[in-house]
């Protein structure tokens, strides 16, 4: 295999990886503010894409109106999830909350299937499918756009978590009881993180919907997104971005080399191997906070 091809695989791996990061940032947001891995992020992403489609295609709004409007709708929806489903579980064991998020995911899949059916629809952002040559390397424009959105969100949220509101959210993730004791509204904080994660879901939903079409399989992004988030450390936004890049490269380059031998399908194997090895060897990921145990 020649060097140009290797470079092309790597560059496209980076871009694809950043799209995984785009998804994973939503997971990290909720984990950072409530210490719960949100298993419904896939469902939220798919719902976000469907809402954009409903506003843009079914109601005929232009995209520049439909996308921000969808973000607002999903923000309110995310806050609503906390109010209706999670508030009564605050302070309960994490396992219960985890099961609730799984339930929400199944609910979202069922609802979108009932309303919009199973056929794949396209978003059509108006991004050209003409290949773009950077030097000798071929890249996809939509991947480039998605990567840029991921980096933008990364910067925004890193800054956000340094603000007073962001600090309060991190405090909530550390200790619910102590947060209540100093008057921090745990409920509102968790609700806000769900709202923000739902906005991230809209952006991931549009980009991925443009790439592979909007249908039920969009919710399966959770598996790759979760792998990225776990490798990055679940509560580190920087970790999610770096892990996305690393995974993207491993997946793209690795599968190109392995596929001829196993006859395809090695992408998922690589992902699974990374997830299992991370949990076994480095459960807190690359940049995750560790449990502090003083001796």
């Amino acid at each position: 295999m020649d060097l140009i091809l290797l470079a092309e695989l790597a560059v496209n791996g980076v871009l694809t990886g950043l799209l995984y990061s785009l998804f994973a940032i939503g997971l990290v947001l909720i984990y950072k503010a409530s210490s719960v891995p949100n298993l419904s992020q896939g469902g939220l992403t798919m719902a976000g894409a469907y809402v954009v489609l409903a506003l843009a295609h079914d109601m005929g709004l232009p995209l520049w109106v439909a996308i921000p409007l969808a973000a607002v709708v999903m923000f309110v929806f995310g806050m609503g999830i906390e109010r209706v489903a999670l508030r009564r579980l605050a302070g309960r064991p994490v396992v219960m909350i985890l099961m609730m998020t799984l339930g929400i995911d199944i609910f979202l899949r069922g609802t979108t299937l009932a309303i919009w059916g199973g056929t794949s629809r396209s978003v059509d952002l108006g991004v050209s499918y003409e290949p773009l040559f950077v030097g000798d390397i071929l890249v996809s424009r939509i991947h480039l756009l998605g990567a840029a959105v991921a980096i933008l969100l990364f910067v925004v949220f890193v800054l956000f978590f340094r603000t007073r509101l962001g600090i309060r959210l991190r405090a909530i993730a550390d200790d619910y009881m102590a947060s209540w004791s100093v008057g921090i509204s745990v409920e509102r904080g968790v609700g806000l993180s769900w709202g923000l994660a739902s906005i991230v879901a809209v952006s991931a939903g549009i980009i991925w919907g443009e790439i592979q079409g909007v249908d039920q399989s969009l919710s399966l992004l959770l598996l790759k997104g979760l792998t990225v988030a776990v490798l990055g450390g679940l509560d580190s936004i920087f970790g999610a971005v770096l892990a996305g890049i690393i995974l993207g490269i491993i997946e793209n380059v690795g599968s190109a080399y392995l596929d001829p031998f196993v006859g395809g399908g090695s992408r998922d194997l690589i992902m699974a191997a990374v997830l299992i090895l991370t949990v076994m060897l480095r459960p807190h990921g690359l940049f995750g906070r560790t449990d502090i145990e003083r001796v």
Partner: protein, 272 residues
């Protein structure tokens, strides 16, 4: 005005025959009445499981989180009834509860710990001044304000927990076992600072302690709780010289060996 009512008017906190149920079945405290005078310092003494922490949680509203509820009685703070209010609202009114076990926000720096506890409405300049005030009380915290709070020593974490509570601008500070697991010199240091804040700022303090000896040094009066009931209420001076208190909590008894102590404590129980 009857003497009892007069006393109530002078109190910042008054708790009348409070009963607390956990999970709707377990009666944790059975009719506890406590008064904290404005600007005063009061200790709540008693052994493990006597109901001291439950009493504090009933006052701060943190009971609800642990599926407990007040089934009888009334708590009033600064003249208004707070029995049913949510915890957040009580903090805004000026009640802050430093919960047991130095629960600082471990992954935040001490500086961020203080900021997290500041009221949302506090402006930037006040926030800075308030943090400065806390660092003046606890100079050790200032030295380590940018390291991770989880790695502070036990004494520093307790100081941070108290400093964090002070950021909420309380008028009543409730401390649950601040001396737990700390070296005696640190207990003296921390209690000294609490006393100083009480004097300088007029902050009222309700102190729960198993370390009765240290607590009675700084408070004006104390309540003794056993089995969810107040069994004794007196001035700190009187409590210190009470022979039963000495026997059980101050370790000044006449027993010469462990067997004798056990025998004694079996024989002598406050009847409830």
């Amino acid at each position: 005005m009857t003497p009892a009512l007069e006393k109530e008017a002078a109190s910042i906190l008054s708790m009348n025959s409070i009963e607390v149920l956990y999970d709707n079945v377990m009666l944790a405290i059975k009719g506890v009445s406590i008064q904290v005078p404005r600007g005063g310092m009061v200790a709540l003494l008693g052994s493990n499981g006597a109901g001291k922490s439950t009493t504090l949680k009933a006052i701060s509203g943190l009971l609800k989180v642990e599926r407990g509820r007040i089934s009888r009685g009334e708590i009033s703070f600064d003249g208004s009834v707070i029995t049913g209010l949510p915890a957040q609202q009580r903090v805004e009114m000026g009640i802050c509860h430093v919960i047991e076990g130095r629960r600082v926000f471990e992954h935040l720096t001490p500086d961020e710990n203080l900021e997290a506890a500041a009221p949302v409405s506090m402006n930037r300049a006040t926030l800075k001044a308030e943090k400065q005030r806390i660092y003046e009380y606890f100079p050790r915290l200032a030295e380590r304000k940018n390291s991770q709070a989880g790695y502070l020593s036990g004494g520093e974490q307790q100081m941070l927990a108290i400093g964090r509570a002070l950021m909420t601008q309380p008028r009543l500070l409730m401390l649950d076992e601040p001396s737990l697991g700390l070296a005696p010199f640190l207990v003296t240091e921390i209690f000294g600072i609490i006393r100083r804040i009480n004097k300088e700022q007029g902050l009222s303090v309700l102190l729960v302690e198993q370390n009765a000896l240290a607590a009675l040094e700084i408070v004006s009066d104390g309540y003794l709780i056993e089995n969810g009931r107040v069994v004794m209420h007196d001035t700190a001076q009187a409590l210190k010289s009470n022979s039963d208190i000495q026997e059980f909590y101050l370790g000044g008894g006449s027993a010469t060996n462990f067997h004798e102590i056990k025998h004694y404590s079996r024989r002598k129980r406050w009847l409830s």
